[in-house]
Symmetry: D2
């Protein structure tokens, strides 16, 4: 039995990742492009390299309120090593937190495939997808945000995708869905940052299965900062949150 | 009760990290420099920005054999979400895996402080530190490697630190210790990649408490690639390792 | 904003869990019955109490080969705190490892509901379910095992469920499916320990969503023992698995 | 290369743990006694079996306020699998949360060894230990609690240890320290539940390195209940804590 991997060859004094010697990559290829290399197997074009860098930065942090930052800080307060606390934050990246990138990218990628098979235009197909989702009472993920109505990260990412000539069908479909949602529901549900990243990585040719991976790769920077801030500026086991609590379980009782 | 943080201010349509609007950072400041900003509070100089980029890339991956890659792949084989499996790898970053960055940086930073207090030169103080460690039978961390005698990542990082004019007292002390170790022990114990990063981040003014953090921030890229490779090219619950096992516990017996 | 919970009321010198004072539970109610209380809200009958105790023991350990034990030992080898390493094992409990309890219980619980709605007998409905699964090429989870053809834990659990008069429709349906699988496929696919627990907790009235929970609650005992054995009998960063590795990625190449 | 373990032998249709066939343990030996067997290698006496059961129950839950319950619920709110969220809670079990069992047991075990070497009585040695800790300004762990002045769990555990004739030198030393602390500081610092467990497992002959393990093995029951309550009674990504937040970092600024 032996391992088989396409990622890194390890020999004494010789490390080869996706074909490239690590000493050639270090300090010569920007780290975000190395991330791209690791996930795709090839170095990005200059444009794709800049785009992946922007995506990582767009995921770095959203303050103390998301589950990931809270989990990291709460676990840090138990007085554990830094990586243990950062990992706790990573664990919270699930279907409801960062998950819209994965699900949104899957939706767009399957949408474009169906659109081509059914020989429709993007606008026609956006109409179909929004109608279907309304009939099935399923939310299309990546639209609307609990805090932002016009997320500055979304605008910046899309303008960069235009500037770098990366925008293709998935971004177009995403924007067409945004319009169609407003038409059919009468409500503005702007593409959020997860939705924007879902569309952009799809136009860059990434598998939707990596959706939560991109989010995670950017967010660990913020989580590390939160854990470090907690460890250096706060006491372990501090009163962190409201401890006001209503117990609405069984009345107090004796054992039978 | 409320949160107090120096990291990110979150308001509707307005995200400010360490003073900078996130839309200004995205695609304009390289992601590794944003990492620096998050951990230090200020943007790096151009030279420090390039150095931190190189450090992240130097940590990306070391094949399937370190505990972190193995843990991520083993957990992935239980058929769990990608972030759960990546987090498992992060958990293994401990005193024996990546820990030499933290411990090595602490040793160098305390060494330089003592050296100044005791008014010694770097060579004199390297001699003292090596003698002390031999008397106390304590290993100085960051020297020697289980696979590499001349780690290509170390050479590249140090030459870059020279080129960017980042090298200061901690790197000098580190190199003096390497020489002194050979003199006192008769064995070559070259600075390893952990030791090199320990010296460089110390010369860049980082707190040693962030040692495992830098390792983690680079290594998550490799871990994500390993989990993705496991999820897309292998079956869940595959026979992953040797299952040859010797049970050397109690003989089989009846309940008393 | 405040917490609302049915689990425990915390006041100075006064802890009430599911209505009972903790000092009344400690040492008077067996721990497995307290687990039942926590998950169901009421203390079990004597028979249910004994059954849940048996289920926890049936999950304790399966040697070093499952992902959970391997993950815990690998992470321990990075030299991290005991709970960090145990948690890594817990992370691997996924759809492919312990997941058959959850999925199997869901299948049986939905099966019994449909059976009643469609006014069928257990044998008739087992035939329908097996036929459907074969048409849809979906495996029914909880049958067959990669190591055991006649799992000693399964037999023991089922005989105890009979003895304690716990066996109801879900166990009957499970056994009818086992027979029907052999009739329709010509192969013996005996109920495995996950399948047995799935049927028993369903007959005890537990929600299938707790399936992985029962597995986890028993398995942490084995994981703690593995981490402790690793920490006390092995060195950190030891060569743990085969490191024989075939790199089948890109040929070594120069940067473009 | 092969595994060596004393825990479980796995052969087809044959599982032997610490010498006993698993089918013999299931439903015959109470689960807490099986935990004892896993950690110690031998089945407990009837008295030790009852004591370990009581210890597990004494650790089950302390409401939503400790880091472990909060971390589990916060991570669950990201919409992840149940074991992922339970594991997050386990991660928070650190030096400041549950850690007093480990550190307290180490302190008592080393204390008893020194006491015997120095040929002192328990009262004499308690005086020495308290004086030393005050001189070195080190807190003795396991005394005092942020909520309880007279913890009902502590009283119950100690009375059970008496009743079962388990109390030996470590419990005596612990009680002598409690008295001596009041004499030397003038303040009541009663033994807390962590301190009580530290003393009892020491009198039962357990290694202090297992301290966090016992806490973890009981607490997973409560964490599973919290995650299940969160998953079934709350929405993902709900507003969980106060989000009132003061940003006291850099003023907003333009990129240089």
């Amino acid at each position: 039995m032996k391992w088989i991997t396409k990622i890194t060859k390890v020999e004494p004094n010789h490390l080869v990742t996706r074909g490239y010697r690590q000493e050639d990559l270090i300090g010569k290829i920007p780290y975000p492009s190395v991330v791209y290399l690791l996930l795709k197997g090839e170095l990005p074009s200059k444009e794709h390299g800049r785009m992946i860098d922007a995506i990582l930065t767009a995921c770095i942090d959203h303050g103390v309120t998301p589950p990931s930052a809270m989990a990291s800080r709460v676990v840090a307060s138990g007085d554990v090593p830094l990586p243990t606390a950062v990992a706790a934050g990573v664990l919270s990246i699930g279907d409801a937190h960062g998950g819209a990138i994965e699900k949104g990218a899957k939706f767009l990628q399957e949408g474009i495939t169906r659109m081509k098979n059914e020989d429709k235009t993007i606008d026609e197909f956006a109409k179909i997808l929004v109608s279907e989702s309304r009939e099935q009472k399923k939310r299309i993920l990546g639209f609307g945000h609990r805090v932002h109505t016009s997320d500055p990260r979304t605008k910046r990412l899309f303008s960069l995708a235009d500037e770098l000539n990366i925008a293709r069908g998935h971004i177009s479909l995403s924007k067409a869905i945004e319009k169609e949602l407003e038409i059919q529901t009468g409500k503005k549900l702007p593409i959020n940052v997860d939705g924007a990243i879902a569309a952009i990585i799809s136009d860059m040719g990434f598998d939707w299965r990596l959706g939560k991976g991109f989010f995670l790769l950017g967010r660990v920077a913020g989580l590390t900062a939160h854990v470090y801030e907690e460890q250096t500026e706060q006491k372990p086991m501090r009163k962190m949150f409201t401890t006001e609590c209503e117990y609405d379980g069984s009345e107090e009782r004796d054992l039978p």
